[in-house]
Each structure stands twice: as C-alpha cells, then as structure tokens.
Amino acid sequence: MTAYLLNLATLATIFGILAASLNLLIGYAGIFSVAHAVFFGLGAYAGAQVAMLLVPDVLLACLAGGAVAALLSLGLALPALRVRGEYFVAASLGLQMMAVTVFSEAHALTGGHGGLVGIPLPTLLGFDVSAQGVFLTVCLAVLALILLAIRMLMRGSFGRSLMAIRDSESAAEAFGKDVRQLKTLVVVLGCALAGVGGALFSFYMMFVNVESFTLEQSILIMAMVIIGGTATLAGPLVGVLLLLLLPAALSFLPFIPPTQIGAVQQFIYGLAMALLMIFRPAGIAGQSAGRR
C-alpha cells in the first residue's frame, strides 16, 4: 500500500515538474506548445543512456537530460520566433509528430518501440537513492527547486518582460525589450526543465520507450496546465493531481464495467477540458475569468 502511494506521489512529482515547465511557456510567455512530451522524451532517453553507459547518478542524468533537451529546443524556438497563434500550435504539432517517428526509428539511441530496458537503480553522489521514499524525496527536492526558481524569475524583470511580450508583443518591442532573446531563453529554460523531468522519469520507470512521449502525452501535460490554471505557481500542480487521480476516482463508480473504464475516463477528461474552457477558462486555480 505505502509502496503504491509512494509510486503515485513520485509520478505526480515528475508530472508536476513537466506541468510547471510547460506553464513557463504557456502561462508566462504565451507560447502554446503542444510538443512538450518531445523534450520530456529527449531528457528521458539522455538520462537513461547516461545511467546505462556511464554511471546511474541522478544529478548527472538530470544535467544530461536538461542539456540535450535545451540544445534541441531550438526546434521549438525557431517557429516560436517566426509565428504566433494557430500557426505556432500547428508547428509544434508538426514537431511532435516528427519527433515520434525519429524516436521510434533511431534504434541505436532510443531502442525504437522496444525501448531502453534495464536502466540501473539510481544513485546520488555515490549514495543509493533507489528506495522509493528516498527517490520520492529527490524528486520533490527537484520540483521544489524548480518552483522556487520559477517564482524568483517571474517576479524579476525577466518575468515582467515575458508577460509584457505575452500580452502584446509589439508594445513590448516598442519599450525596447529584446523579444527574440527573451523568447528563446524561455523556450530553452522550459524545455530543459522538461528534460530534467524526463531523466527522473527514466529512473522511476526503469524503462523508457516512445509510447510515453506521444501527442497524447503532450496533450495530457497541456491539459494539466490549462485545467489547473496558467500563470500561477499552484495551478499546474492542481491540474496534475486532478488528472492523475481521475482514473483512481473512477474506479469508485460501480456501474462502469472494467473493460469500459478506459473510454469512460477519456470521456470525462475530454468533457472536463471543454466545460472548463467554457465556464472557467482561467483554470481551477486561476484568479479570474480574465485574460490569459
């Protein structure tokens, strides 16, 4: 029982990192990416490879995962600098679809659909952190650090400039903000953090393959941010808890046959997305129904 709870908590923490990092893009910078799972995946593959080939050190794997994701976030930054709105969403969808093909084809790096099996137990600076409680603590520490960093950044001039760009790009430019640089920075930062989450994920699962990094996963992360509430620190975390607990909560309902539970779960998840957008577009933790 405890083992199960610890597992759920670890998964929630990792998704918390993902949602918080996507919130940087969607909430603070107005970059509506639906390709976040790509960078999650890059981090996971990089982390897993480091653990398997070098040393299963959490810190090293996180750094590697973050670095690889940051490097390749250029693929997202380029369209973000060129287009906005629907065009950017379309570009990120395109990126997501291409990445899935590359993930499943680059057998040498990703193991294809078979994935990477046999990721060793994690250590941290030589200490074994594989016990569930210890690993959860490590993940929580990473999440706390990330939240702290986001809070500090967003309260500073970086955050204010970003939000100015989000609200009106031309006005921000007129005030002398370097829009291109700021946007690139926030994309690199958001994707790098997703990569860190990916590295932790690979240790948690002890197995990674392309099925964890599909469009559906990107949409799930996006839904967590949107349903929870963008541009707030707590919002994405609320979203994570809601969407991860949904399947568990559904098993309370006695009238759903087990074989249909998947479909019913999807139904509620989809309906919640639509209804929230109609009645509470700022999300559950969002302050008002005001603009995003």
């Binding site: 969607i26 509506f32 380029l78 369209p79 060129r82 287009v83 906005r84 709105g85 629907e86 065009y87 969403v89 379309a90 570009a91 969808l93 395109g94 990126l95 679809m97 291409m98 899935v100 093909t101 590359v102 499943s104 084809e105 469009l215 949409i219 996006m222 839904a223 949107i226 249909q260 998947g262 479909a263 019913v264 779960q265 999807q266 139904f267 998840y269 989809g270 309906l271 919640a272 997305m273 639509a274 209804l275 957008m277 109609i278 577009p281 129904a289 005001g290 603009r291 995003r292």
Partner: protein
Amino acid sequence: MLFLQLFISGLQTGAIYALTAAGFALIFGATRVFHVAHGATFALAGYAYLACTDAGLPWPAGALAALVLAVAFGLAMDAFIYRPIQRHEGSFFTVFVAAFGMSIVVQSVIELVFGRGFVTVSSALTMARQVAPGIYLADIFWVAAGVAIALFVLVTLFLERTRAGIGLRALSENPELLRAYGLSSRRLSAMAFGLGSALAVPGAILTTMTSGLQPAISHQVMLISLAAAVVGGIGSLRGAALAGLLLGVVENLVIGVLDTQWSAAAGFVVLFAFILFKPSGLFGQAVTR
C-alpha cells in the same frame, strides 16, 4: 512504374484529404475558429455510414445519415462550445483546448458504442484491377476524384456567386459590411460550420470503404486537415484542397524512396518547413495577426 502507381495511390488519398481540409479551411476562413474537432466530425460521419450499412440500409441512406450527423455535430460545436467561449473572451487557445476536449469525448463515445477495433464496409468498388502493366486501379479512385472535383466546383461557385457565399467570405474580414447587407453573422457562422462539416462526409465514407475506421482516426484526420490548411495558407479553400492533395501524394511517394516508417512523418516535415520558410502558405495572405 512503381512511382506512377504510388502517385496514383497518392492522388486517391489526397482527394480525401483535400475535401476534409477544405471543410476545415472554410470554417476557419469564415469564423476564425480553429476547429480541431473537425476530425471528430469525420469520424462520426464514417461510423454513421457504417452503422447504416451494417443495418442493411442502402448506401444513400447511410450517406444521408452521415451527412445529418456531421452537420449536426458541426452546428452543435458552434452553438454550444465556440459561441459561449467567444462570448466572454475567445483566446484562440481556449477554443483549441475545448475543441480538442470535445474530440476526445467523441472518440470515447465511439469506443463505447462501436468498440475499439478496426471496422470497414466491404465494397466491390475498392477491388483494384490491372489497368496497365504494373498499374492497379480500383473504381473507387474515380469515385474519389469525381466527388472531390464536383464538390469543389460547387462550393467555389456557391462562395463566389451567391449572396450567402459572399457573406461567408466577408464574415471574418468585414462584419460591418455584413450588417449593411442585412446578413446575420450568427447565421453565416452556422452556415460555415454546416457546410464545412458536410465537406468531411464524402472523405469519411470513402475512408470507411478503403482503409477502414477506428476510433483514433479523428486525431489523424484532424492533424492532416490542420497541416493542409496551414500549408495551403490558412483560410484559403483552394490552398487547403491543393495542399491536401499534395500531402496525400507526398505521403505515398516517400514510400518509394524511404522506409515506410517515414511516410506518416513526411506530411509534418512539409508542414514544419512551410511554417518556417513560407508561413503564409501556398495561397495565404499575411500571417501575424
């Protein structure tokens, strides 16, 4: 010979993409709603046709049922999802999330009703015959091509020659003009959704007969129409149709050169390249709004 064959398969796939993408483009052009639930419309139409055929009804009845359901879904999305959202703010991403949510809902309802398996309607039309050495062609190719061309001509005539059609084109750019003409923007937007959804129906029926349906098809169709609409130039009906055709052909031709794995990604490479290098698309106007 192989390439000619692949090109022909590509045209058939492309004709279906073209019609569906044209519907998406029509809706976007007129209402500026990024209707990502268009794929769900397609899936609903396909399954409606399938259900009628399975019930032993003749094909026109199935086609009619598909049409009715598709149009009804399009109108309902407009009235109950997009309008309420636009009333209080209308950020395009809010609309996107809601529409995506609804397409997940439709997919799960289809799963509950029809199961998750692959389903198809057998038809003599899909059986290919050798028409030239190494070239196989099924009758459905001519059906797809004929229907696509005919519908496209009809829709173009409607948009250019009728009052309502001109109103539709003016809807997004010049609402004042509409008022001067005495046209209701609300009714026109409903018309755009009805017409756009109807354009997904032939593609859905043809797909039911050729490659078959499964609940997840709505996502796939949504991605293709979206890609075609962007490559064609958002809002341009002609562009979307041409881009749909192009994506279908590219997808098939790629298989002649690369491993089959890359076929699905090829369309998105084209999409990504267009966004980076020619965001206005084939026939689009200025992009940053």
